[in-house]
């Protein structure tokens, strides 16, 4: 026999009341775990997506820099074009480690999404693309046979969606062009998975955009030179330079207001849970007034009673912490699905990241909740004078 087993048996007396209180704590914990998991998962996925673009800086035609960057991240049309001369000039800068030109174009394909239609994203690239993304491996096939070949390499998901294999032909609607699939990239977990790549010169020719680019990705030899490099290019006409670190910060700012709202909900849920726990345990203390008096009569000290009631509260919160963590784990898939639907930009990868350390933290948090909310009921019970407690209950 120990204080925890006595406390556990006490909680079993009013099963429905205990279950409801545990449920309240569980919901608060589940909300909190999901929110923190989302915060971590979103940041990690976004950072991973940006890192896996392979470059630190993106040069684009003048316009809204973040719109351009988001377009690059997300895919989509409405891109602005700049002259290829810009690339030819910038690449001479000795501070550059690697540089790659890109031409992005989107084509509406009425056959996509089971006949409902959808945009296919094409990107014209050069050999330097693989130098910036050394992790890009071929699932099957190989690189283009020449820089003017009428060939494509498909991203992993693009090939899956269109059910293409190496050697297949793909037809580009509106342009009426047929290209041969020569390679399929292995999954990278980035937006590249959904893109159809073709040689830059071929892309410029078939999309009728001679000497045009949508962006130039740049990786510097020394990351500390980013500020100076940006400043040097600031006065170049018709272009702008975007640091992807800034893009990351801006996207995180965009979702921060939604996070404030969600955090407020979590705080309210925790507050309600604390009130619920205090109410339940106080009710239980008042119902057991005589019993507490009798326990004191048979030898329990104030501290014994305090520990007993405190243990009951901590047990309720510990059960709530475990149940809430399980709920958050089981529900993370649903939460992720909903978030991907409602967020303006959802990076690929796991958006809700629930790690063992987060679960351990949630359990510890629930215990602290129990320690705080159990203090007052435990103090009330331990302060009862034995004779008054015994007689009041009669």
């Amino acid at each position: 026999m120990n204080i925890l087993s006595i406390a556990y048996k006490n909680l079993k007396r009013k099963k429905i009341r205990t279950v409801l209180t545990v449920g309240g704590v569980a919901i608060a914990v589940a909300v909190l775990v999901s929110l923190v998991g989302f915060d971590r998962g979103y940041q990690r996925s976004l950072t991973s997506n940006i890192d896996r673009m392979g470059y630190q800086l993106l040069v684009t035609a003048k316009g809204c820099p973040y719109e351009a960057a988001t377009m690059m991240l997300k895919g989509g049309g409405g891109l602005r074009y700049m002259e290829q001369d810009v690339y030819d000039k910038i690449q001479l800068d000795t501070r550059i480690d690697k540089i790659t030109p890109q031409l992005v174009s989107t084509v509406f394909d009425p056959e996509r999404q089971e006949g409902q239609g959808g945009f296919a994203m094409y990107m014209g690239i050069t050999d330097s693309f693989l130098e910036l993304k050394p992790w890009s491996k071929f699932k099957s096939g190989k690189w283009f046979s020449s820089d003017t070949a009428e060939e494509v390499i498909m991203g992993y998901e693009a090939a899956e969606v269109e059910q293409r294999l190496v050697g297949d032909k793909i037809f580009i609607p509106n342009i009426n062009k047929i290209l041969t699939v020569v390679g399929i990239f292995a999954r990278t977990g980035t937006q590249d998975d959904g893109i159809i790549f073709l040689p830059l010169k071929t892309a410029q020719q078939i999309f009728s955009l001679p000497n045009k680019l949508t962006g130039v990705g740049i990786k510097l030899k020394d990351i500390a030179q980013i500020g100076q490099f940006e400043e040097d290019l600031y006065n170049e006409p018709g272009i702008q330079i975007i640091s992807l670190a800034q893009v990351r910060g801006t996207i995180l700012n965009l979702i921060s207001s939604a996070k404030v709202m969600a955090n407020s909900v979590a705080i309210i849920a925790i507050f309600i849970a604390v009130i619920g726990v205090i109410n339940t345990i106080l009710m239980s203390v008042f119902e057991r007034t005589q019993e507490i008096g009798v326990i004191k009569a048979i030898g329990a000290s104030r501290m014994d009673i305090f520990r007993l009631i405190w243990s009951e509260t901590i047990l309720v919160c510990a059960f709530g912490g475990i149940l809430g963590s399980v709920l958050a784990l089981l529900g993370s898939g649903v939460v992720e699905h909903i978030l991907k639907k409602i967020l303006p930009y959802a990076p690929s990868g796991q958006l809700v990241l629930i790690s063992p350390s987060l679960l351990a933290g949630a359990f510890l948090g629930a215990i602290i909740l129990g320690v705080i909310s159990g203090f007052y009921p435990a103090w009330r019970a331990s302060s009862m004078r034995p004779v008054e407690a015994i007689r009041r209950g009669e």
Partner: protein, 233 residues
């Protein structure tokens, strides 16, 4: 030589009820020594339970002096009183006051737990066997009769080997047969083990079987003659 268990001198207890002051126990002088089986009798409101609560260190006194064993408890704080209650006084209540979620065995273990006793397994079993409940060890209070519950309460009171037992109306909720059984247990404990027993009761049968009767009326001791039980209201 007999040891002093209770010594009260001019013991008084008053309560405030709204603006009125109620004198529950009024200038009581009383001495109970080891080996006694004393009944405190009297009509409702005569101060029996209040006197018992003070002797049991459950309630503080208003004036006078009260010695329990070798402790003057007149001005002791709750933290000191609990040390006297724990292990030196065994309590038995009218409504048994067992913890409903604990078995007969666990109810006894609870008293040993608070007394920090090491004998938490064999001793409670022996005590239950002693009160004739060896077959009810793992039964919950709701699975037992009133007489059985009171015998568990007696076993619980005995668990810490107290110097004396205090029983408040111990047969109040029992039928004639169970009342006699409880009386037999008390007589056996008193006669065979020389355990001091102090009982507050309405029950003349219990009073007659005790060795001494303290008759209270309006908070005062009016008689300590056993024969007065027969003529009490």
């Amino acid at each position: 030589m007999s040891e002093t268990i209770v010594k009260a001198e001019n013991l008084t207890k008053t309560y405030k009820l709204f603006a009125e002051e109620i004198v529950a126990v009024n200038s009581v002088d009383l001495e109970i020594t080891s080996g006694e089986f004393a009944s405190i009798m009297g009509p409702s409101g005569s101060g029996k339970t209040t006197l018992l609560d003070m002797i049991g260190c459950l309630d503080n006194i208003t004036s006078g002096r009260l010695q329990i064993l070798d402790h003057d408890i007149s001005n002791l704080k709750e933290s000191k009183l609990v040390k006297i209650r724990r292990g030196k006084i065994g309590f038995i209540f009218q409504d048994f006051s067992l913890i409903p979620t604990l078995t007969a065995l666990e109810n006894i273990q609870l008293a040993l737990y608070f007394a920090d006793s090491q004998q938490k397994t064999q001793k409670p079993i022996k005590l239950l066997q002693k009160v004739g409940l060896g077959h009810r060890i793992n039964h919950l209070p709701k699975q037992m009769s009133g007489g059985e519950k009171q015998r568990v309460a007696i076993a619980r009171a005995l668990a810490t080997e107290p110097k004396f037992l205090l029983a408040d109306e111990p047969t109040g909720h029992l039928d004639t047969k169970n009342t006699q059984e409880i009386l037999n247990v008390f007589k056996q404990l008193n006669e065979e083990e020389n355990l001091t027993i102090i009982v507050a009761t309405h029950d003349p049968k219990l009073g007659l079987q005790s060795k001494r009767v303290i008759h209270l009326q309006d908070g005062k001791i009016v008689s300590q003659e056993k024969e007065a039980v027969l003529s009490s209201p």
